[in-house]
Subunit: 160 residues, 2 copies
Amino acid sequence: MRLTRAGEYAVRCVLYLAKQGRGVLVSRKEIAAQADIPGQFLAKIAQQLARQGIIEILQGASGGYRLLLAPERITLLEVVETVIGEIFLNDCVGRPESCPNSTVCAVHRVWCRTQQQLRNSLDQVTFADLASEELGTPPTPGACCAENPPPPEKDLPGPA
Amino acid sequence: MRLTRAGEYAVRCVLYLAKQGRGVLVSRKEIAAQADIPGQFLAKIAQQLARQGIIEILQGASGGYRLLLAPERITLLEVVETVIGEIFLNDCVGRPESCPNSTVCAVHRVWCRTQQQLRNSLDQVTFADLASEELGTPPTPGACCAENPPPPEKDLPGPA
DNA sequence: TGATACAAGATCAAAAAAGTCTTATTTACT
DNA sequence: AGTAAATAAGACTTTTTTGATCTTGTATCA
Ligand code: SF4
Ligand code: SF4
Protein backbone atom coordinates (compact mmCIF):
# COMPACT_ATOMS: atom_id res chain seq x y z
CA MET A 1 0.00 0.00 0.00
CA ARG A 2 2.86 2.32 -0.75
CA LEU A 3 4.53 4.06 -3.63
CA THR A 4 7.50 2.20 -5.06
CA ARG A 5 10.88 3.76 -5.45
CA ALA A 6 10.43 3.90 -9.20
CA GLY A 7 7.21 5.82 -8.82
CA GLU A 8 8.80 8.30 -6.49
CA TYR A 9 11.70 8.80 -8.88
CA ALA A 10 9.38 9.38 -11.80
CA VAL A 11 7.63 12.11 -9.89
CA ARG A 12 10.90 13.72 -8.95
CA CYS A 13 12.10 13.61 -12.51
CA VAL A 14 9.00 15.15 -13.99
CA LEU A 15 8.82 17.74 -11.26
CA TYR A 16 12.40 18.74 -11.92
CA LEU A 17 11.70 19.09 -15.60
CA ALA A 18 8.53 21.03 -14.89
CA LYS A 19 10.48 23.48 -12.81
CA GLN A 20 12.89 24.08 -15.68
CA GLY A 21 9.96 24.65 -17.92
CA ARG A 22 8.38 22.73 -20.77
CA GLY A 23 10.65 21.92 -23.67
CA VAL A 24 13.88 22.72 -21.85
CA LEU A 25 16.46 20.05 -22.48
CA VAL A 26 18.16 18.61 -19.43
CA SER A 27 20.75 15.89 -19.37
CA ARG A 28 19.97 12.70 -17.57
CA LYS A 29 23.04 13.19 -15.48
CA GLU A 30 21.83 16.52 -14.21
CA ILE A 31 18.42 15.20 -13.30
CA ALA A 32 19.90 12.20 -11.58
CA ALA A 33 22.25 14.35 -9.56
CA GLN A 34 19.77 17.07 -8.66
CA ALA A 35 16.85 14.82 -7.89
CA ASP A 36 18.95 12.12 -6.27
CA ILE A 37 18.08 9.23 -8.56
CA PRO A 38 20.40 6.39 -9.61
CA GLY A 39 21.38 7.23 -13.16
CA GLN A 40 20.68 3.91 -14.86
CA PHE A 41 17.48 3.47 -12.99
CA LEU A 42 16.35 6.87 -14.17
CA ALA A 43 17.02 5.75 -17.72
CA LYS A 44 14.46 3.00 -17.37
CA ILE A 45 11.90 5.22 -15.83
CA ALA A 46 12.43 7.91 -18.43
CA GLN A 47 11.80 5.40 -21.16
CA GLN A 48 8.42 4.61 -19.71
CA LEU A 49 7.60 8.28 -19.40
CA ALA A 50 8.63 8.77 -22.99
CA ARG A 51 6.46 5.93 -24.24
CA GLN A 52 3.58 7.55 -22.41
CA GLY A 53 4.31 10.80 -24.23
CA ILE A 54 5.09 12.79 -21.13
CA ILE A 55 8.70 13.50 -21.92
CA GLU A 56 10.86 13.37 -24.99
CA ILE A 57 14.26 11.75 -25.09
CA LEU A 58 17.02 13.22 -27.23
CA GLN A 59 19.89 10.90 -28.07
CA GLY A 60 23.45 11.60 -29.02
CA ALA A 61 26.05 13.88 -27.56
CA SER A 62 24.32 16.77 -25.80
CA GLY A 63 21.19 14.67 -25.60
CA GLY A 64 18.87 14.56 -22.64
CA TYR A 65 15.25 14.72 -21.61
CA ARG A 66 12.62 17.36 -21.89
CA LEU A 67 9.01 17.81 -21.01
CA LEU A 68 6.75 17.26 -23.95
CA LEU A 69 3.49 18.34 -22.36
CA ALA A 70 2.61 21.49 -20.51
CA PRO A 71 2.94 20.95 -16.76
CA GLU A 72 -0.72 21.92 -16.36
CA ARG A 73 -1.66 18.91 -18.38
CA ILE A 74 0.37 16.36 -16.47
CA THR A 75 -1.18 14.96 -13.33
CA LEU A 76 0.42 13.18 -10.45
CA LEU A 77 -1.74 10.12 -11.10
CA GLU A 78 -0.62 9.96 -14.69
CA VAL A 79 3.06 9.95 -13.84
CA VAL A 80 2.73 7.49 -11.00
CA GLU A 81 0.62 5.04 -12.94
CA THR A 82 2.87 5.26 -15.95
CA VAL A 83 5.57 3.72 -13.86
CA ILE A 84 3.89 1.46 -11.35
CA GLY A 85 0.84 0.56 -13.37
CA GLU A 86 -2.72 1.33 -12.44
CA ILE A 87 -3.24 1.67 -8.74
CA PHE A 88 -5.24 -1.20 -7.30
CA LEU A 89 -6.11 -1.26 -3.64
CA ASN A 90 -6.88 -4.95 -3.86
CA ASP A 91 -6.20 -7.57 -6.43
CA CYS A 92 -9.86 -8.38 -6.96
CA VAL A 93 -10.55 -4.85 -8.17
CA GLY A 94 -8.30 -5.23 -11.17
CA ARG A 95 -8.99 -8.90 -11.70
CA PRO A 96 -12.46 -9.77 -10.40
CA GLU A 97 -11.94 -13.29 -11.67
CA SER A 98 -9.22 -13.73 -9.07
CA CYS A 99 -11.89 -14.14 -6.41
CA PRO A 100 -15.05 -16.13 -7.14
CA ASN A 101 -16.77 -14.02 -4.56
CA SER A 102 -16.23 -10.69 -6.20
CA THR A 103 -19.68 -10.36 -7.72
CA VAL A 104 -21.35 -10.67 -4.34
CA CYS A 105 -18.74 -9.28 -2.01
CA ALA A 106 -19.54 -6.10 -0.13
CA VAL A 107 -15.90 -5.48 0.66
CA HIS A 108 -15.06 -5.67 -3.00
CA ARG A 109 -17.36 -2.77 -3.68
CA VAL A 110 -15.69 -0.72 -1.00
CA TRP A 111 -12.30 -1.28 -2.54
CA CYS A 112 -13.60 -0.28 -5.95
CA ARG A 113 -15.16 2.88 -4.65
CA THR A 114 -12.27 3.93 -2.46
CA GLN A 115 -9.76 3.27 -5.14
CA GLN A 116 -11.59 5.49 -7.56
CA GLN A 117 -11.66 8.19 -4.95
CA LEU A 118 -7.94 7.94 -4.41
CA ARG A 119 -7.18 7.99 -8.09
CA ASN A 120 -9.42 10.98 -8.62
CA SER A 121 -7.63 12.90 -5.93
CA LEU A 122 -4.28 12.22 -7.46
CA ASP A 123 -5.65 13.17 -10.83
CA GLN A 124 -6.55 16.62 -9.54
CA VAL A 125 -2.95 17.52 -8.88
CA THR A 126 -0.97 18.80 -11.83
CA PHE A 127 2.74 19.37 -12.07
CA ALA A 128 2.07 23.03 -12.67
CA ASP A 129 0.54 23.12 -9.20
CA LEU A 130 3.45 21.27 -7.71
CA ALA A 131 6.17 23.26 -9.41
CA SER A 132 4.69 26.64 -8.63
CA GLU A 133 3.94 25.75 -5.05
CA GLU A 134 7.46 24.58 -4.62
CA LEU A 135 9.02 27.67 -6.15
CA GLY A 136 6.79 30.16 -4.43
CA THR A 137 5.49 28.96 -1.10
CA PRO A 138 7.51 29.03 2.10
CA PRO A 139 7.64 25.67 3.89
CA THR A 140 4.90 26.26 6.48
CA PRO A 141 6.48 23.76 8.80
CA GLY A 142 4.18 21.29 10.45
CA ALA A 143 1.30 22.12 8.18
CA CYS A 144 1.58 18.74 6.59
CA CYS A 145 2.74 15.87 8.67
CA ALA A 146 1.48 17.28 11.91
CA GLU A 147 -1.78 15.71 10.78
CA ASN A 148 0.13 12.46 10.63
CA PRO A 149 1.86 12.09 13.95
CA PRO A 150 4.11 9.05 14.19
CA PRO A 151 1.46 6.41 14.85
CA PRO A 152 1.59 4.47 18.09
CA GLU A 153 3.65 1.39 17.46
CA LYS A 154 1.61 -1.79 17.31
CA ASP A 155 3.55 -3.53 20.02
CA LEU A 156 4.93 -0.68 22.08
CA PRO A 157 1.97 1.64 22.50
CA GLY A 158 3.32 5.09 23.11
CA PRO A 159 6.75 6.44 24.05
CA ALA A 160 7.47 3.49 26.26
CA MET B 1 -0.14 0.22 -3.54
CA ARG B 2 -2.22 -2.82 -2.90
CA LEU B 3 -3.60 -4.84 -0.05
CA THR B 4 -1.48 -7.79 0.96
CA ARG B 5 -2.82 -11.28 1.17
CA ALA B 6 -2.68 -11.16 4.93
CA GLY B 7 -4.79 -8.04 4.98
CA GLU B 8 -7.35 -9.58 2.70
CA TYR B 9 -7.51 -12.71 4.86
CA ALA B 10 -7.99 -10.66 8.00
CA VAL B 11 -10.95 -8.93 6.46
CA ARG B 12 -12.45 -12.22 5.35
CA CYS B 13 -11.99 -13.68 8.78
CA VAL B 14 -13.59 -10.82 10.63
CA LEU B 15 -16.37 -10.59 8.12
CA TYR B 16 -17.14 -14.27 8.53
CA LEU B 17 -17.23 -13.91 12.28
CA ALA B 18 -19.39 -10.81 11.98
CA LYS B 19 -21.89 -12.74 9.94
CA GLN B 20 -22.13 -15.41 12.61
CA GLY B 21 -22.69 -12.69 15.16
CA ARG B 22 -20.66 -11.26 17.96
CA GLY B 23 -19.47 -13.69 20.60
CA VAL B 24 -20.24 -16.80 18.57
CA LEU B 25 -17.37 -19.26 18.78
CA VAL B 26 -16.09 -20.61 15.49
CA SER B 27 -13.22 -23.02 15.00
CA ARG B 28 -10.24 -21.90 13.02
CA LYS B 29 -10.74 -24.82 10.71
CA GLU B 30 -14.22 -23.71 9.82
CA ILE B 31 -13.16 -20.16 9.11
CA ALA B 32 -10.23 -21.31 7.04
CA ALA B 33 -12.40 -23.60 4.99
CA GLN B 34 -15.31 -21.23 4.53
CA ALA B 35 -13.29 -18.11 3.86
CA ASP B 36 -10.63 -19.91 1.86
CA ILE B 37 -7.63 -19.04 4.00
CA PRO B 38 -4.57 -21.25 4.61
CA GLY B 39 -5.07 -22.57 8.13
CA GLN B 40 -1.68 -21.82 9.60
CA PHE B 41 -1.58 -18.45 8.01
CA LEU B 42 -4.92 -17.64 9.54
CA ALA B 43 -3.48 -18.52 12.93
CA LYS B 44 -0.90 -15.80 12.58
CA ILE B 45 -3.40 -13.25 11.48
CA ALA B 46 -5.83 -14.16 14.21
CA GLN B 47 -3.17 -13.59 16.80
CA GLN B 48 -2.70 -10.07 15.59
CA LEU B 49 -6.41 -9.46 15.61
CA ALA B 50 -6.57 -10.81 19.14
CA ARG B 51 -3.75 -8.57 20.33
CA GLN B 52 -5.67 -5.67 18.90
CA GLY B 53 -8.72 -6.72 20.89
CA ILE B 54 -10.90 -7.37 17.89
CA ILE B 55 -11.35 -11.08 18.40
CA GLU B 56 -10.84 -13.48 21.27
CA ILE B 57 -9.03 -16.77 20.94
CA LEU B 58 -10.17 -19.79 22.92
CA GLN B 59 -7.64 -22.58 23.31
CA GLY B 60 -8.04 -26.25 23.94
CA ALA B 61 -10.32 -28.84 22.48
CA SER B 62 -13.42 -27.16 21.09
CA GLY B 63 -11.53 -23.90 21.03
CA GLY B 64 -11.75 -21.31 18.30
CA TYR B 65 -12.21 -17.65 17.62
CA ARG B 66 -14.95 -15.21 18.33
CA LEU B 67 -15.70 -11.59 17.78
CA LEU B 68 -15.03 -9.54 20.87
CA LEU B 69 -16.42 -6.24 19.65
CA ALA B 70 -19.75 -5.41 18.12
CA PRO B 71 -19.49 -5.39 14.32
CA GLU B 72 -20.70 -1.79 14.33
CA ARG B 73 -17.58 -0.82 16.19
CA ILE B 74 -15.07 -2.52 13.92
CA THR B 75 -14.02 -0.62 10.84
CA LEU B 76 -12.38 -1.87 7.71
CA LEU B 77 -9.42 0.40 8.30
CA GLU B 78 -8.90 -0.98 11.76
CA VAL B 79 -8.75 -4.57 10.61
CA VAL B 80 -6.56 -3.86 7.64
CA GLU B 81 -4.06 -1.78 9.56
CA THR B 82 -3.93 -4.27 12.37
CA VAL B 83 -2.40 -6.69 9.95
CA ILE B 84 -0.45 -4.68 7.43
CA GLY B 85 0.46 -1.73 9.63
CA GLU B 86 -0.58 1.83 9.06
CA ILE B 87 -1.24 2.62 5.46
CA PHE B 88 1.37 4.90 3.96
CA LEU B 89 1.10 6.05 0.38
CA ASN B 90 4.75 7.04 0.37
CA ASP B 91 7.61 6.34 2.67
CA CYS B 92 8.25 9.98 3.42
CA VAL B 93 4.81 10.36 4.96
CA GLY B 94 5.56 7.93 7.73
CA ARG B 95 9.22 8.83 8.02
CA PRO B 96 9.77 12.42 6.90
CA GLU B 97 13.41 12.04 7.85
CA SER B 98 13.78 9.53 5.03
CA CYS B 99 13.81 12.43 2.58
CA PRO B 100 15.69 15.64 3.37
CA ASN B 101 13.28 17.40 1.11
CA SER B 102 10.14 16.55 2.98
CA THR B 103 9.74 19.85 4.77
CA VAL B 104 9.68 21.77 1.52
CA CYS B 105 8.24 19.25 -0.88
CA ALA B 106 4.87 19.98 -2.42
CA VAL B 107 4.38 16.39 -3.44
CA HIS B 108 4.92 15.29 0.08
CA ARG B 109 1.97 17.34 1.19
CA VAL B 110 -0.21 15.77 -1.44
CA TRP B 111 0.67 12.31 -0.22
CA CYS B 112 -0.10 13.27 3.34
CA ARG B 113 -3.44 14.72 2.43
CA THR B 114 -4.50 11.95 0.11
CA GLN B 115 -3.48 9.29 2.52
CA GLN B 116 -5.60 10.78 5.25
CA GLN B 117 -8.51 10.88 2.86
CA LEU B 118 -8.10 7.25 2.01
CA ARG B 119 -7.82 6.21 5.61
CA ASN B 120 -10.87 8.20 6.55
CA SER B 121 -12.90 6.53 3.87
CA LEU B 122 -11.93 3.10 5.05
CA ASP B 123 -12.68 4.12 8.59
CA GLN B 124 -16.27 4.90 7.64
CA VAL B 125 -17.01 1.33 6.75
CA THR B 126 -17.95 -0.96 9.61
CA PHE B 127 -18.31 -4.71 9.58
CA ALA B 128 -21.93 -4.31 10.50
CA ASP B 129 -22.38 -2.52 7.20
CA LEU B 130 -20.50 -5.17 5.32
CA ALA B 131 -22.19 -8.14 6.93
CA SER B 132 -25.70 -6.82 6.52
CA GLU B 133 -25.14 -5.74 2.97
CA GLU B 134 -23.81 -9.14 2.14
CA LEU B 135 -26.68 -11.01 3.76
CA GLY B 136 -29.43 -8.80 2.44
CA THR B 137 -28.59 -7.19 -0.85
CA PRO B 138 -28.80 -8.94 -4.19
CA PRO B 139 -25.61 -8.75 -6.25
CA THR B 140 -26.53 -5.83 -8.52
CA PRO B 141 -24.16 -7.10 -11.17
CA GLY B 142 -21.94 -4.53 -12.79
CA ALA B 143 -22.71 -1.90 -10.21
CA CYS B 144 -19.21 -2.14 -8.91
CA CYS B 145 -16.49 -2.88 -11.32
CA ALA B 146 -18.23 -1.35 -14.27
CA GLU B 147 -16.83 1.88 -12.89
CA ASN B 148 -13.45 0.29 -13.23
CA PRO B 149 -13.21 -0.87 -16.79
CA PRO B 150 -10.02 -2.69 -17.69
CA PRO B 151 -7.69 0.28 -18.21
CA PRO B 152 -6.11 0.87 -21.58
CA GLU B 153 -2.87 -1.04 -21.71
CA LYS B 154 0.21 1.11 -21.24
CA ASP B 155 1.72 0.23 -24.57
CA LEU B 156 -1.40 0.00 -26.66
CA PRO B 157 -3.17 3.20 -25.73
CA GLY B 158 -6.76 2.23 -26.18
CA PRO B 159 -8.81 1.85 -29.33
CA ALA B 160 -6.77 4.63 -30.86
C1' DT C 1 35.91 9.31 -36.46
C1' DG C 2 35.97 9.33 -31.81
C1' DA C 3 33.93 11.10 -27.65
C1' DT C 4 29.60 11.69 -25.41
C1' DA C 5 25.09 10.55 -24.16
C1' DC C 6 21.09 7.65 -24.30
C1' DA C 7 18.65 2.72 -25.44
C1' DA C 8 17.43 -1.73 -24.24
C1' DG C 9 17.59 -5.97 -22.49
C1' DA C 10 19.92 -9.24 -19.30
C1' DT C 11 21.26 -10.01 -15.00
C1' DC C 12 21.92 -9.73 -10.01
C1' DA C 13 20.95 -8.82 -5.08
C1' DA C 14 18.10 -7.54 -1.44
C1' DA C 15 13.78 -7.27 0.60
C1' DA C 16 9.11 -8.38 1.37
C1' DA C 17 5.29 -11.49 1.14
C1' DA C 18 3.20 -15.95 1.50
C1' DG C 19 3.06 -20.03 3.37
C1' DT C 20 4.74 -24.18 6.01
C1' DC C 21 6.87 -26.81 9.81
C1' DT C 22 7.94 -27.88 14.37
C1' DT C 23 7.33 -27.87 19.12
C1' DA C 24 4.75 -26.53 23.08
C1' DT C 25 0.27 -25.35 25.61
C1' DT C 26 -4.24 -25.44 26.74
C1' DT C 27 -8.63 -27.65 27.39
C1' DA C 28 -12.21 -31.27 27.08
C1' DC C 29 -13.52 -35.82 27.52
C1' DT C 30 -13.30 -40.53 29.34
C1' DA D 1 -4.55 -39.35 35.02
C1' DG D 2 -4.26 -39.96 30.13
C1' DT D 3 -5.34 -38.93 25.57
C1' DA D 4 -7.21 -36.42 21.83
C1' DA D 5 -8.33 -32.04 19.84
C1' DA D 6 -7.50 -27.48 19.32
C1' DT D 7 -4.56 -23.27 19.25
C1' DA D 8 0.28 -20.64 20.28
C1' DA D 9 4.53 -19.11 18.84
C1' DG D 10 8.40 -18.74 16.44
C1' DA D 11 11.69 -20.61 13.05
C1' DC D 12 12.13 -21.67 8.50
C1' DT D 13 11.40 -21.93 3.36
C1' DT D 14 9.83 -20.48 -0.97
C1' DT D 15 8.25 -17.20 -4.16
C1' DT D 16 7.59 -12.69 -5.86
C1' DT D 17 8.67 -8.00 -6.19
C1' DT D 18 11.68 -4.32 -6.05
C1' DG D 19 15.80 -1.86 -6.78
C1' DA D 20 19.74 -1.48 -9.11
C1' DT D 21 23.59 -2.46 -12.20
C1' DC D 22 26.01 -4.42 -16.31
C1' DT D 23 26.71 -5.02 -21.01
C1' DT D 24 26.30 -4.11 -25.61
C1' DG D 25 24.51 -1.19 -29.12
C1' DT D 26 22.94 3.23 -31.36
C1' DA D 27 22.56 8.10 -32.21
C1' DT D 28 24.61 12.76 -32.48
C1' DC D 29 27.93 16.29 -32.42
C1' DA D 30 32.49 18.38 -32.91
S1 SF4 E 1 -13.46 -11.51 -0.70
FE1 SF4 E 1 -14.26 -9.67 -1.56
S2 SF4 E 1 -12.65 -8.22 -1.18
FE2 SF4 E 1 -11.74 -10.17 -0.78
S3 SF4 E 1 -10.83 -10.69 -2.73
FE3 SF4 E 1 -12.83 -11.63 -2.79
S4 SF4 E 1 -14.04 -10.03 -3.71
FE4 SF4 E 1 -12.19 -9.02 -3.16
S1 SF4 F 1 10.67 14.25 -2.76
FE1 SF4 F 1 8.83 14.85 -1.68
S2 SF4 F 1 7.45 13.17 -2.10
FE2 SF4 F 1 9.43 12.42 -2.72
S3 SF4 F 1 10.16 11.42 -0.90
FE3 SF4 F 1 10.95 13.45 -0.73
S4 SF4 F 1 9.38 14.50 0.40
FE4 SF4 F 1 8.43 12.63 -0.22
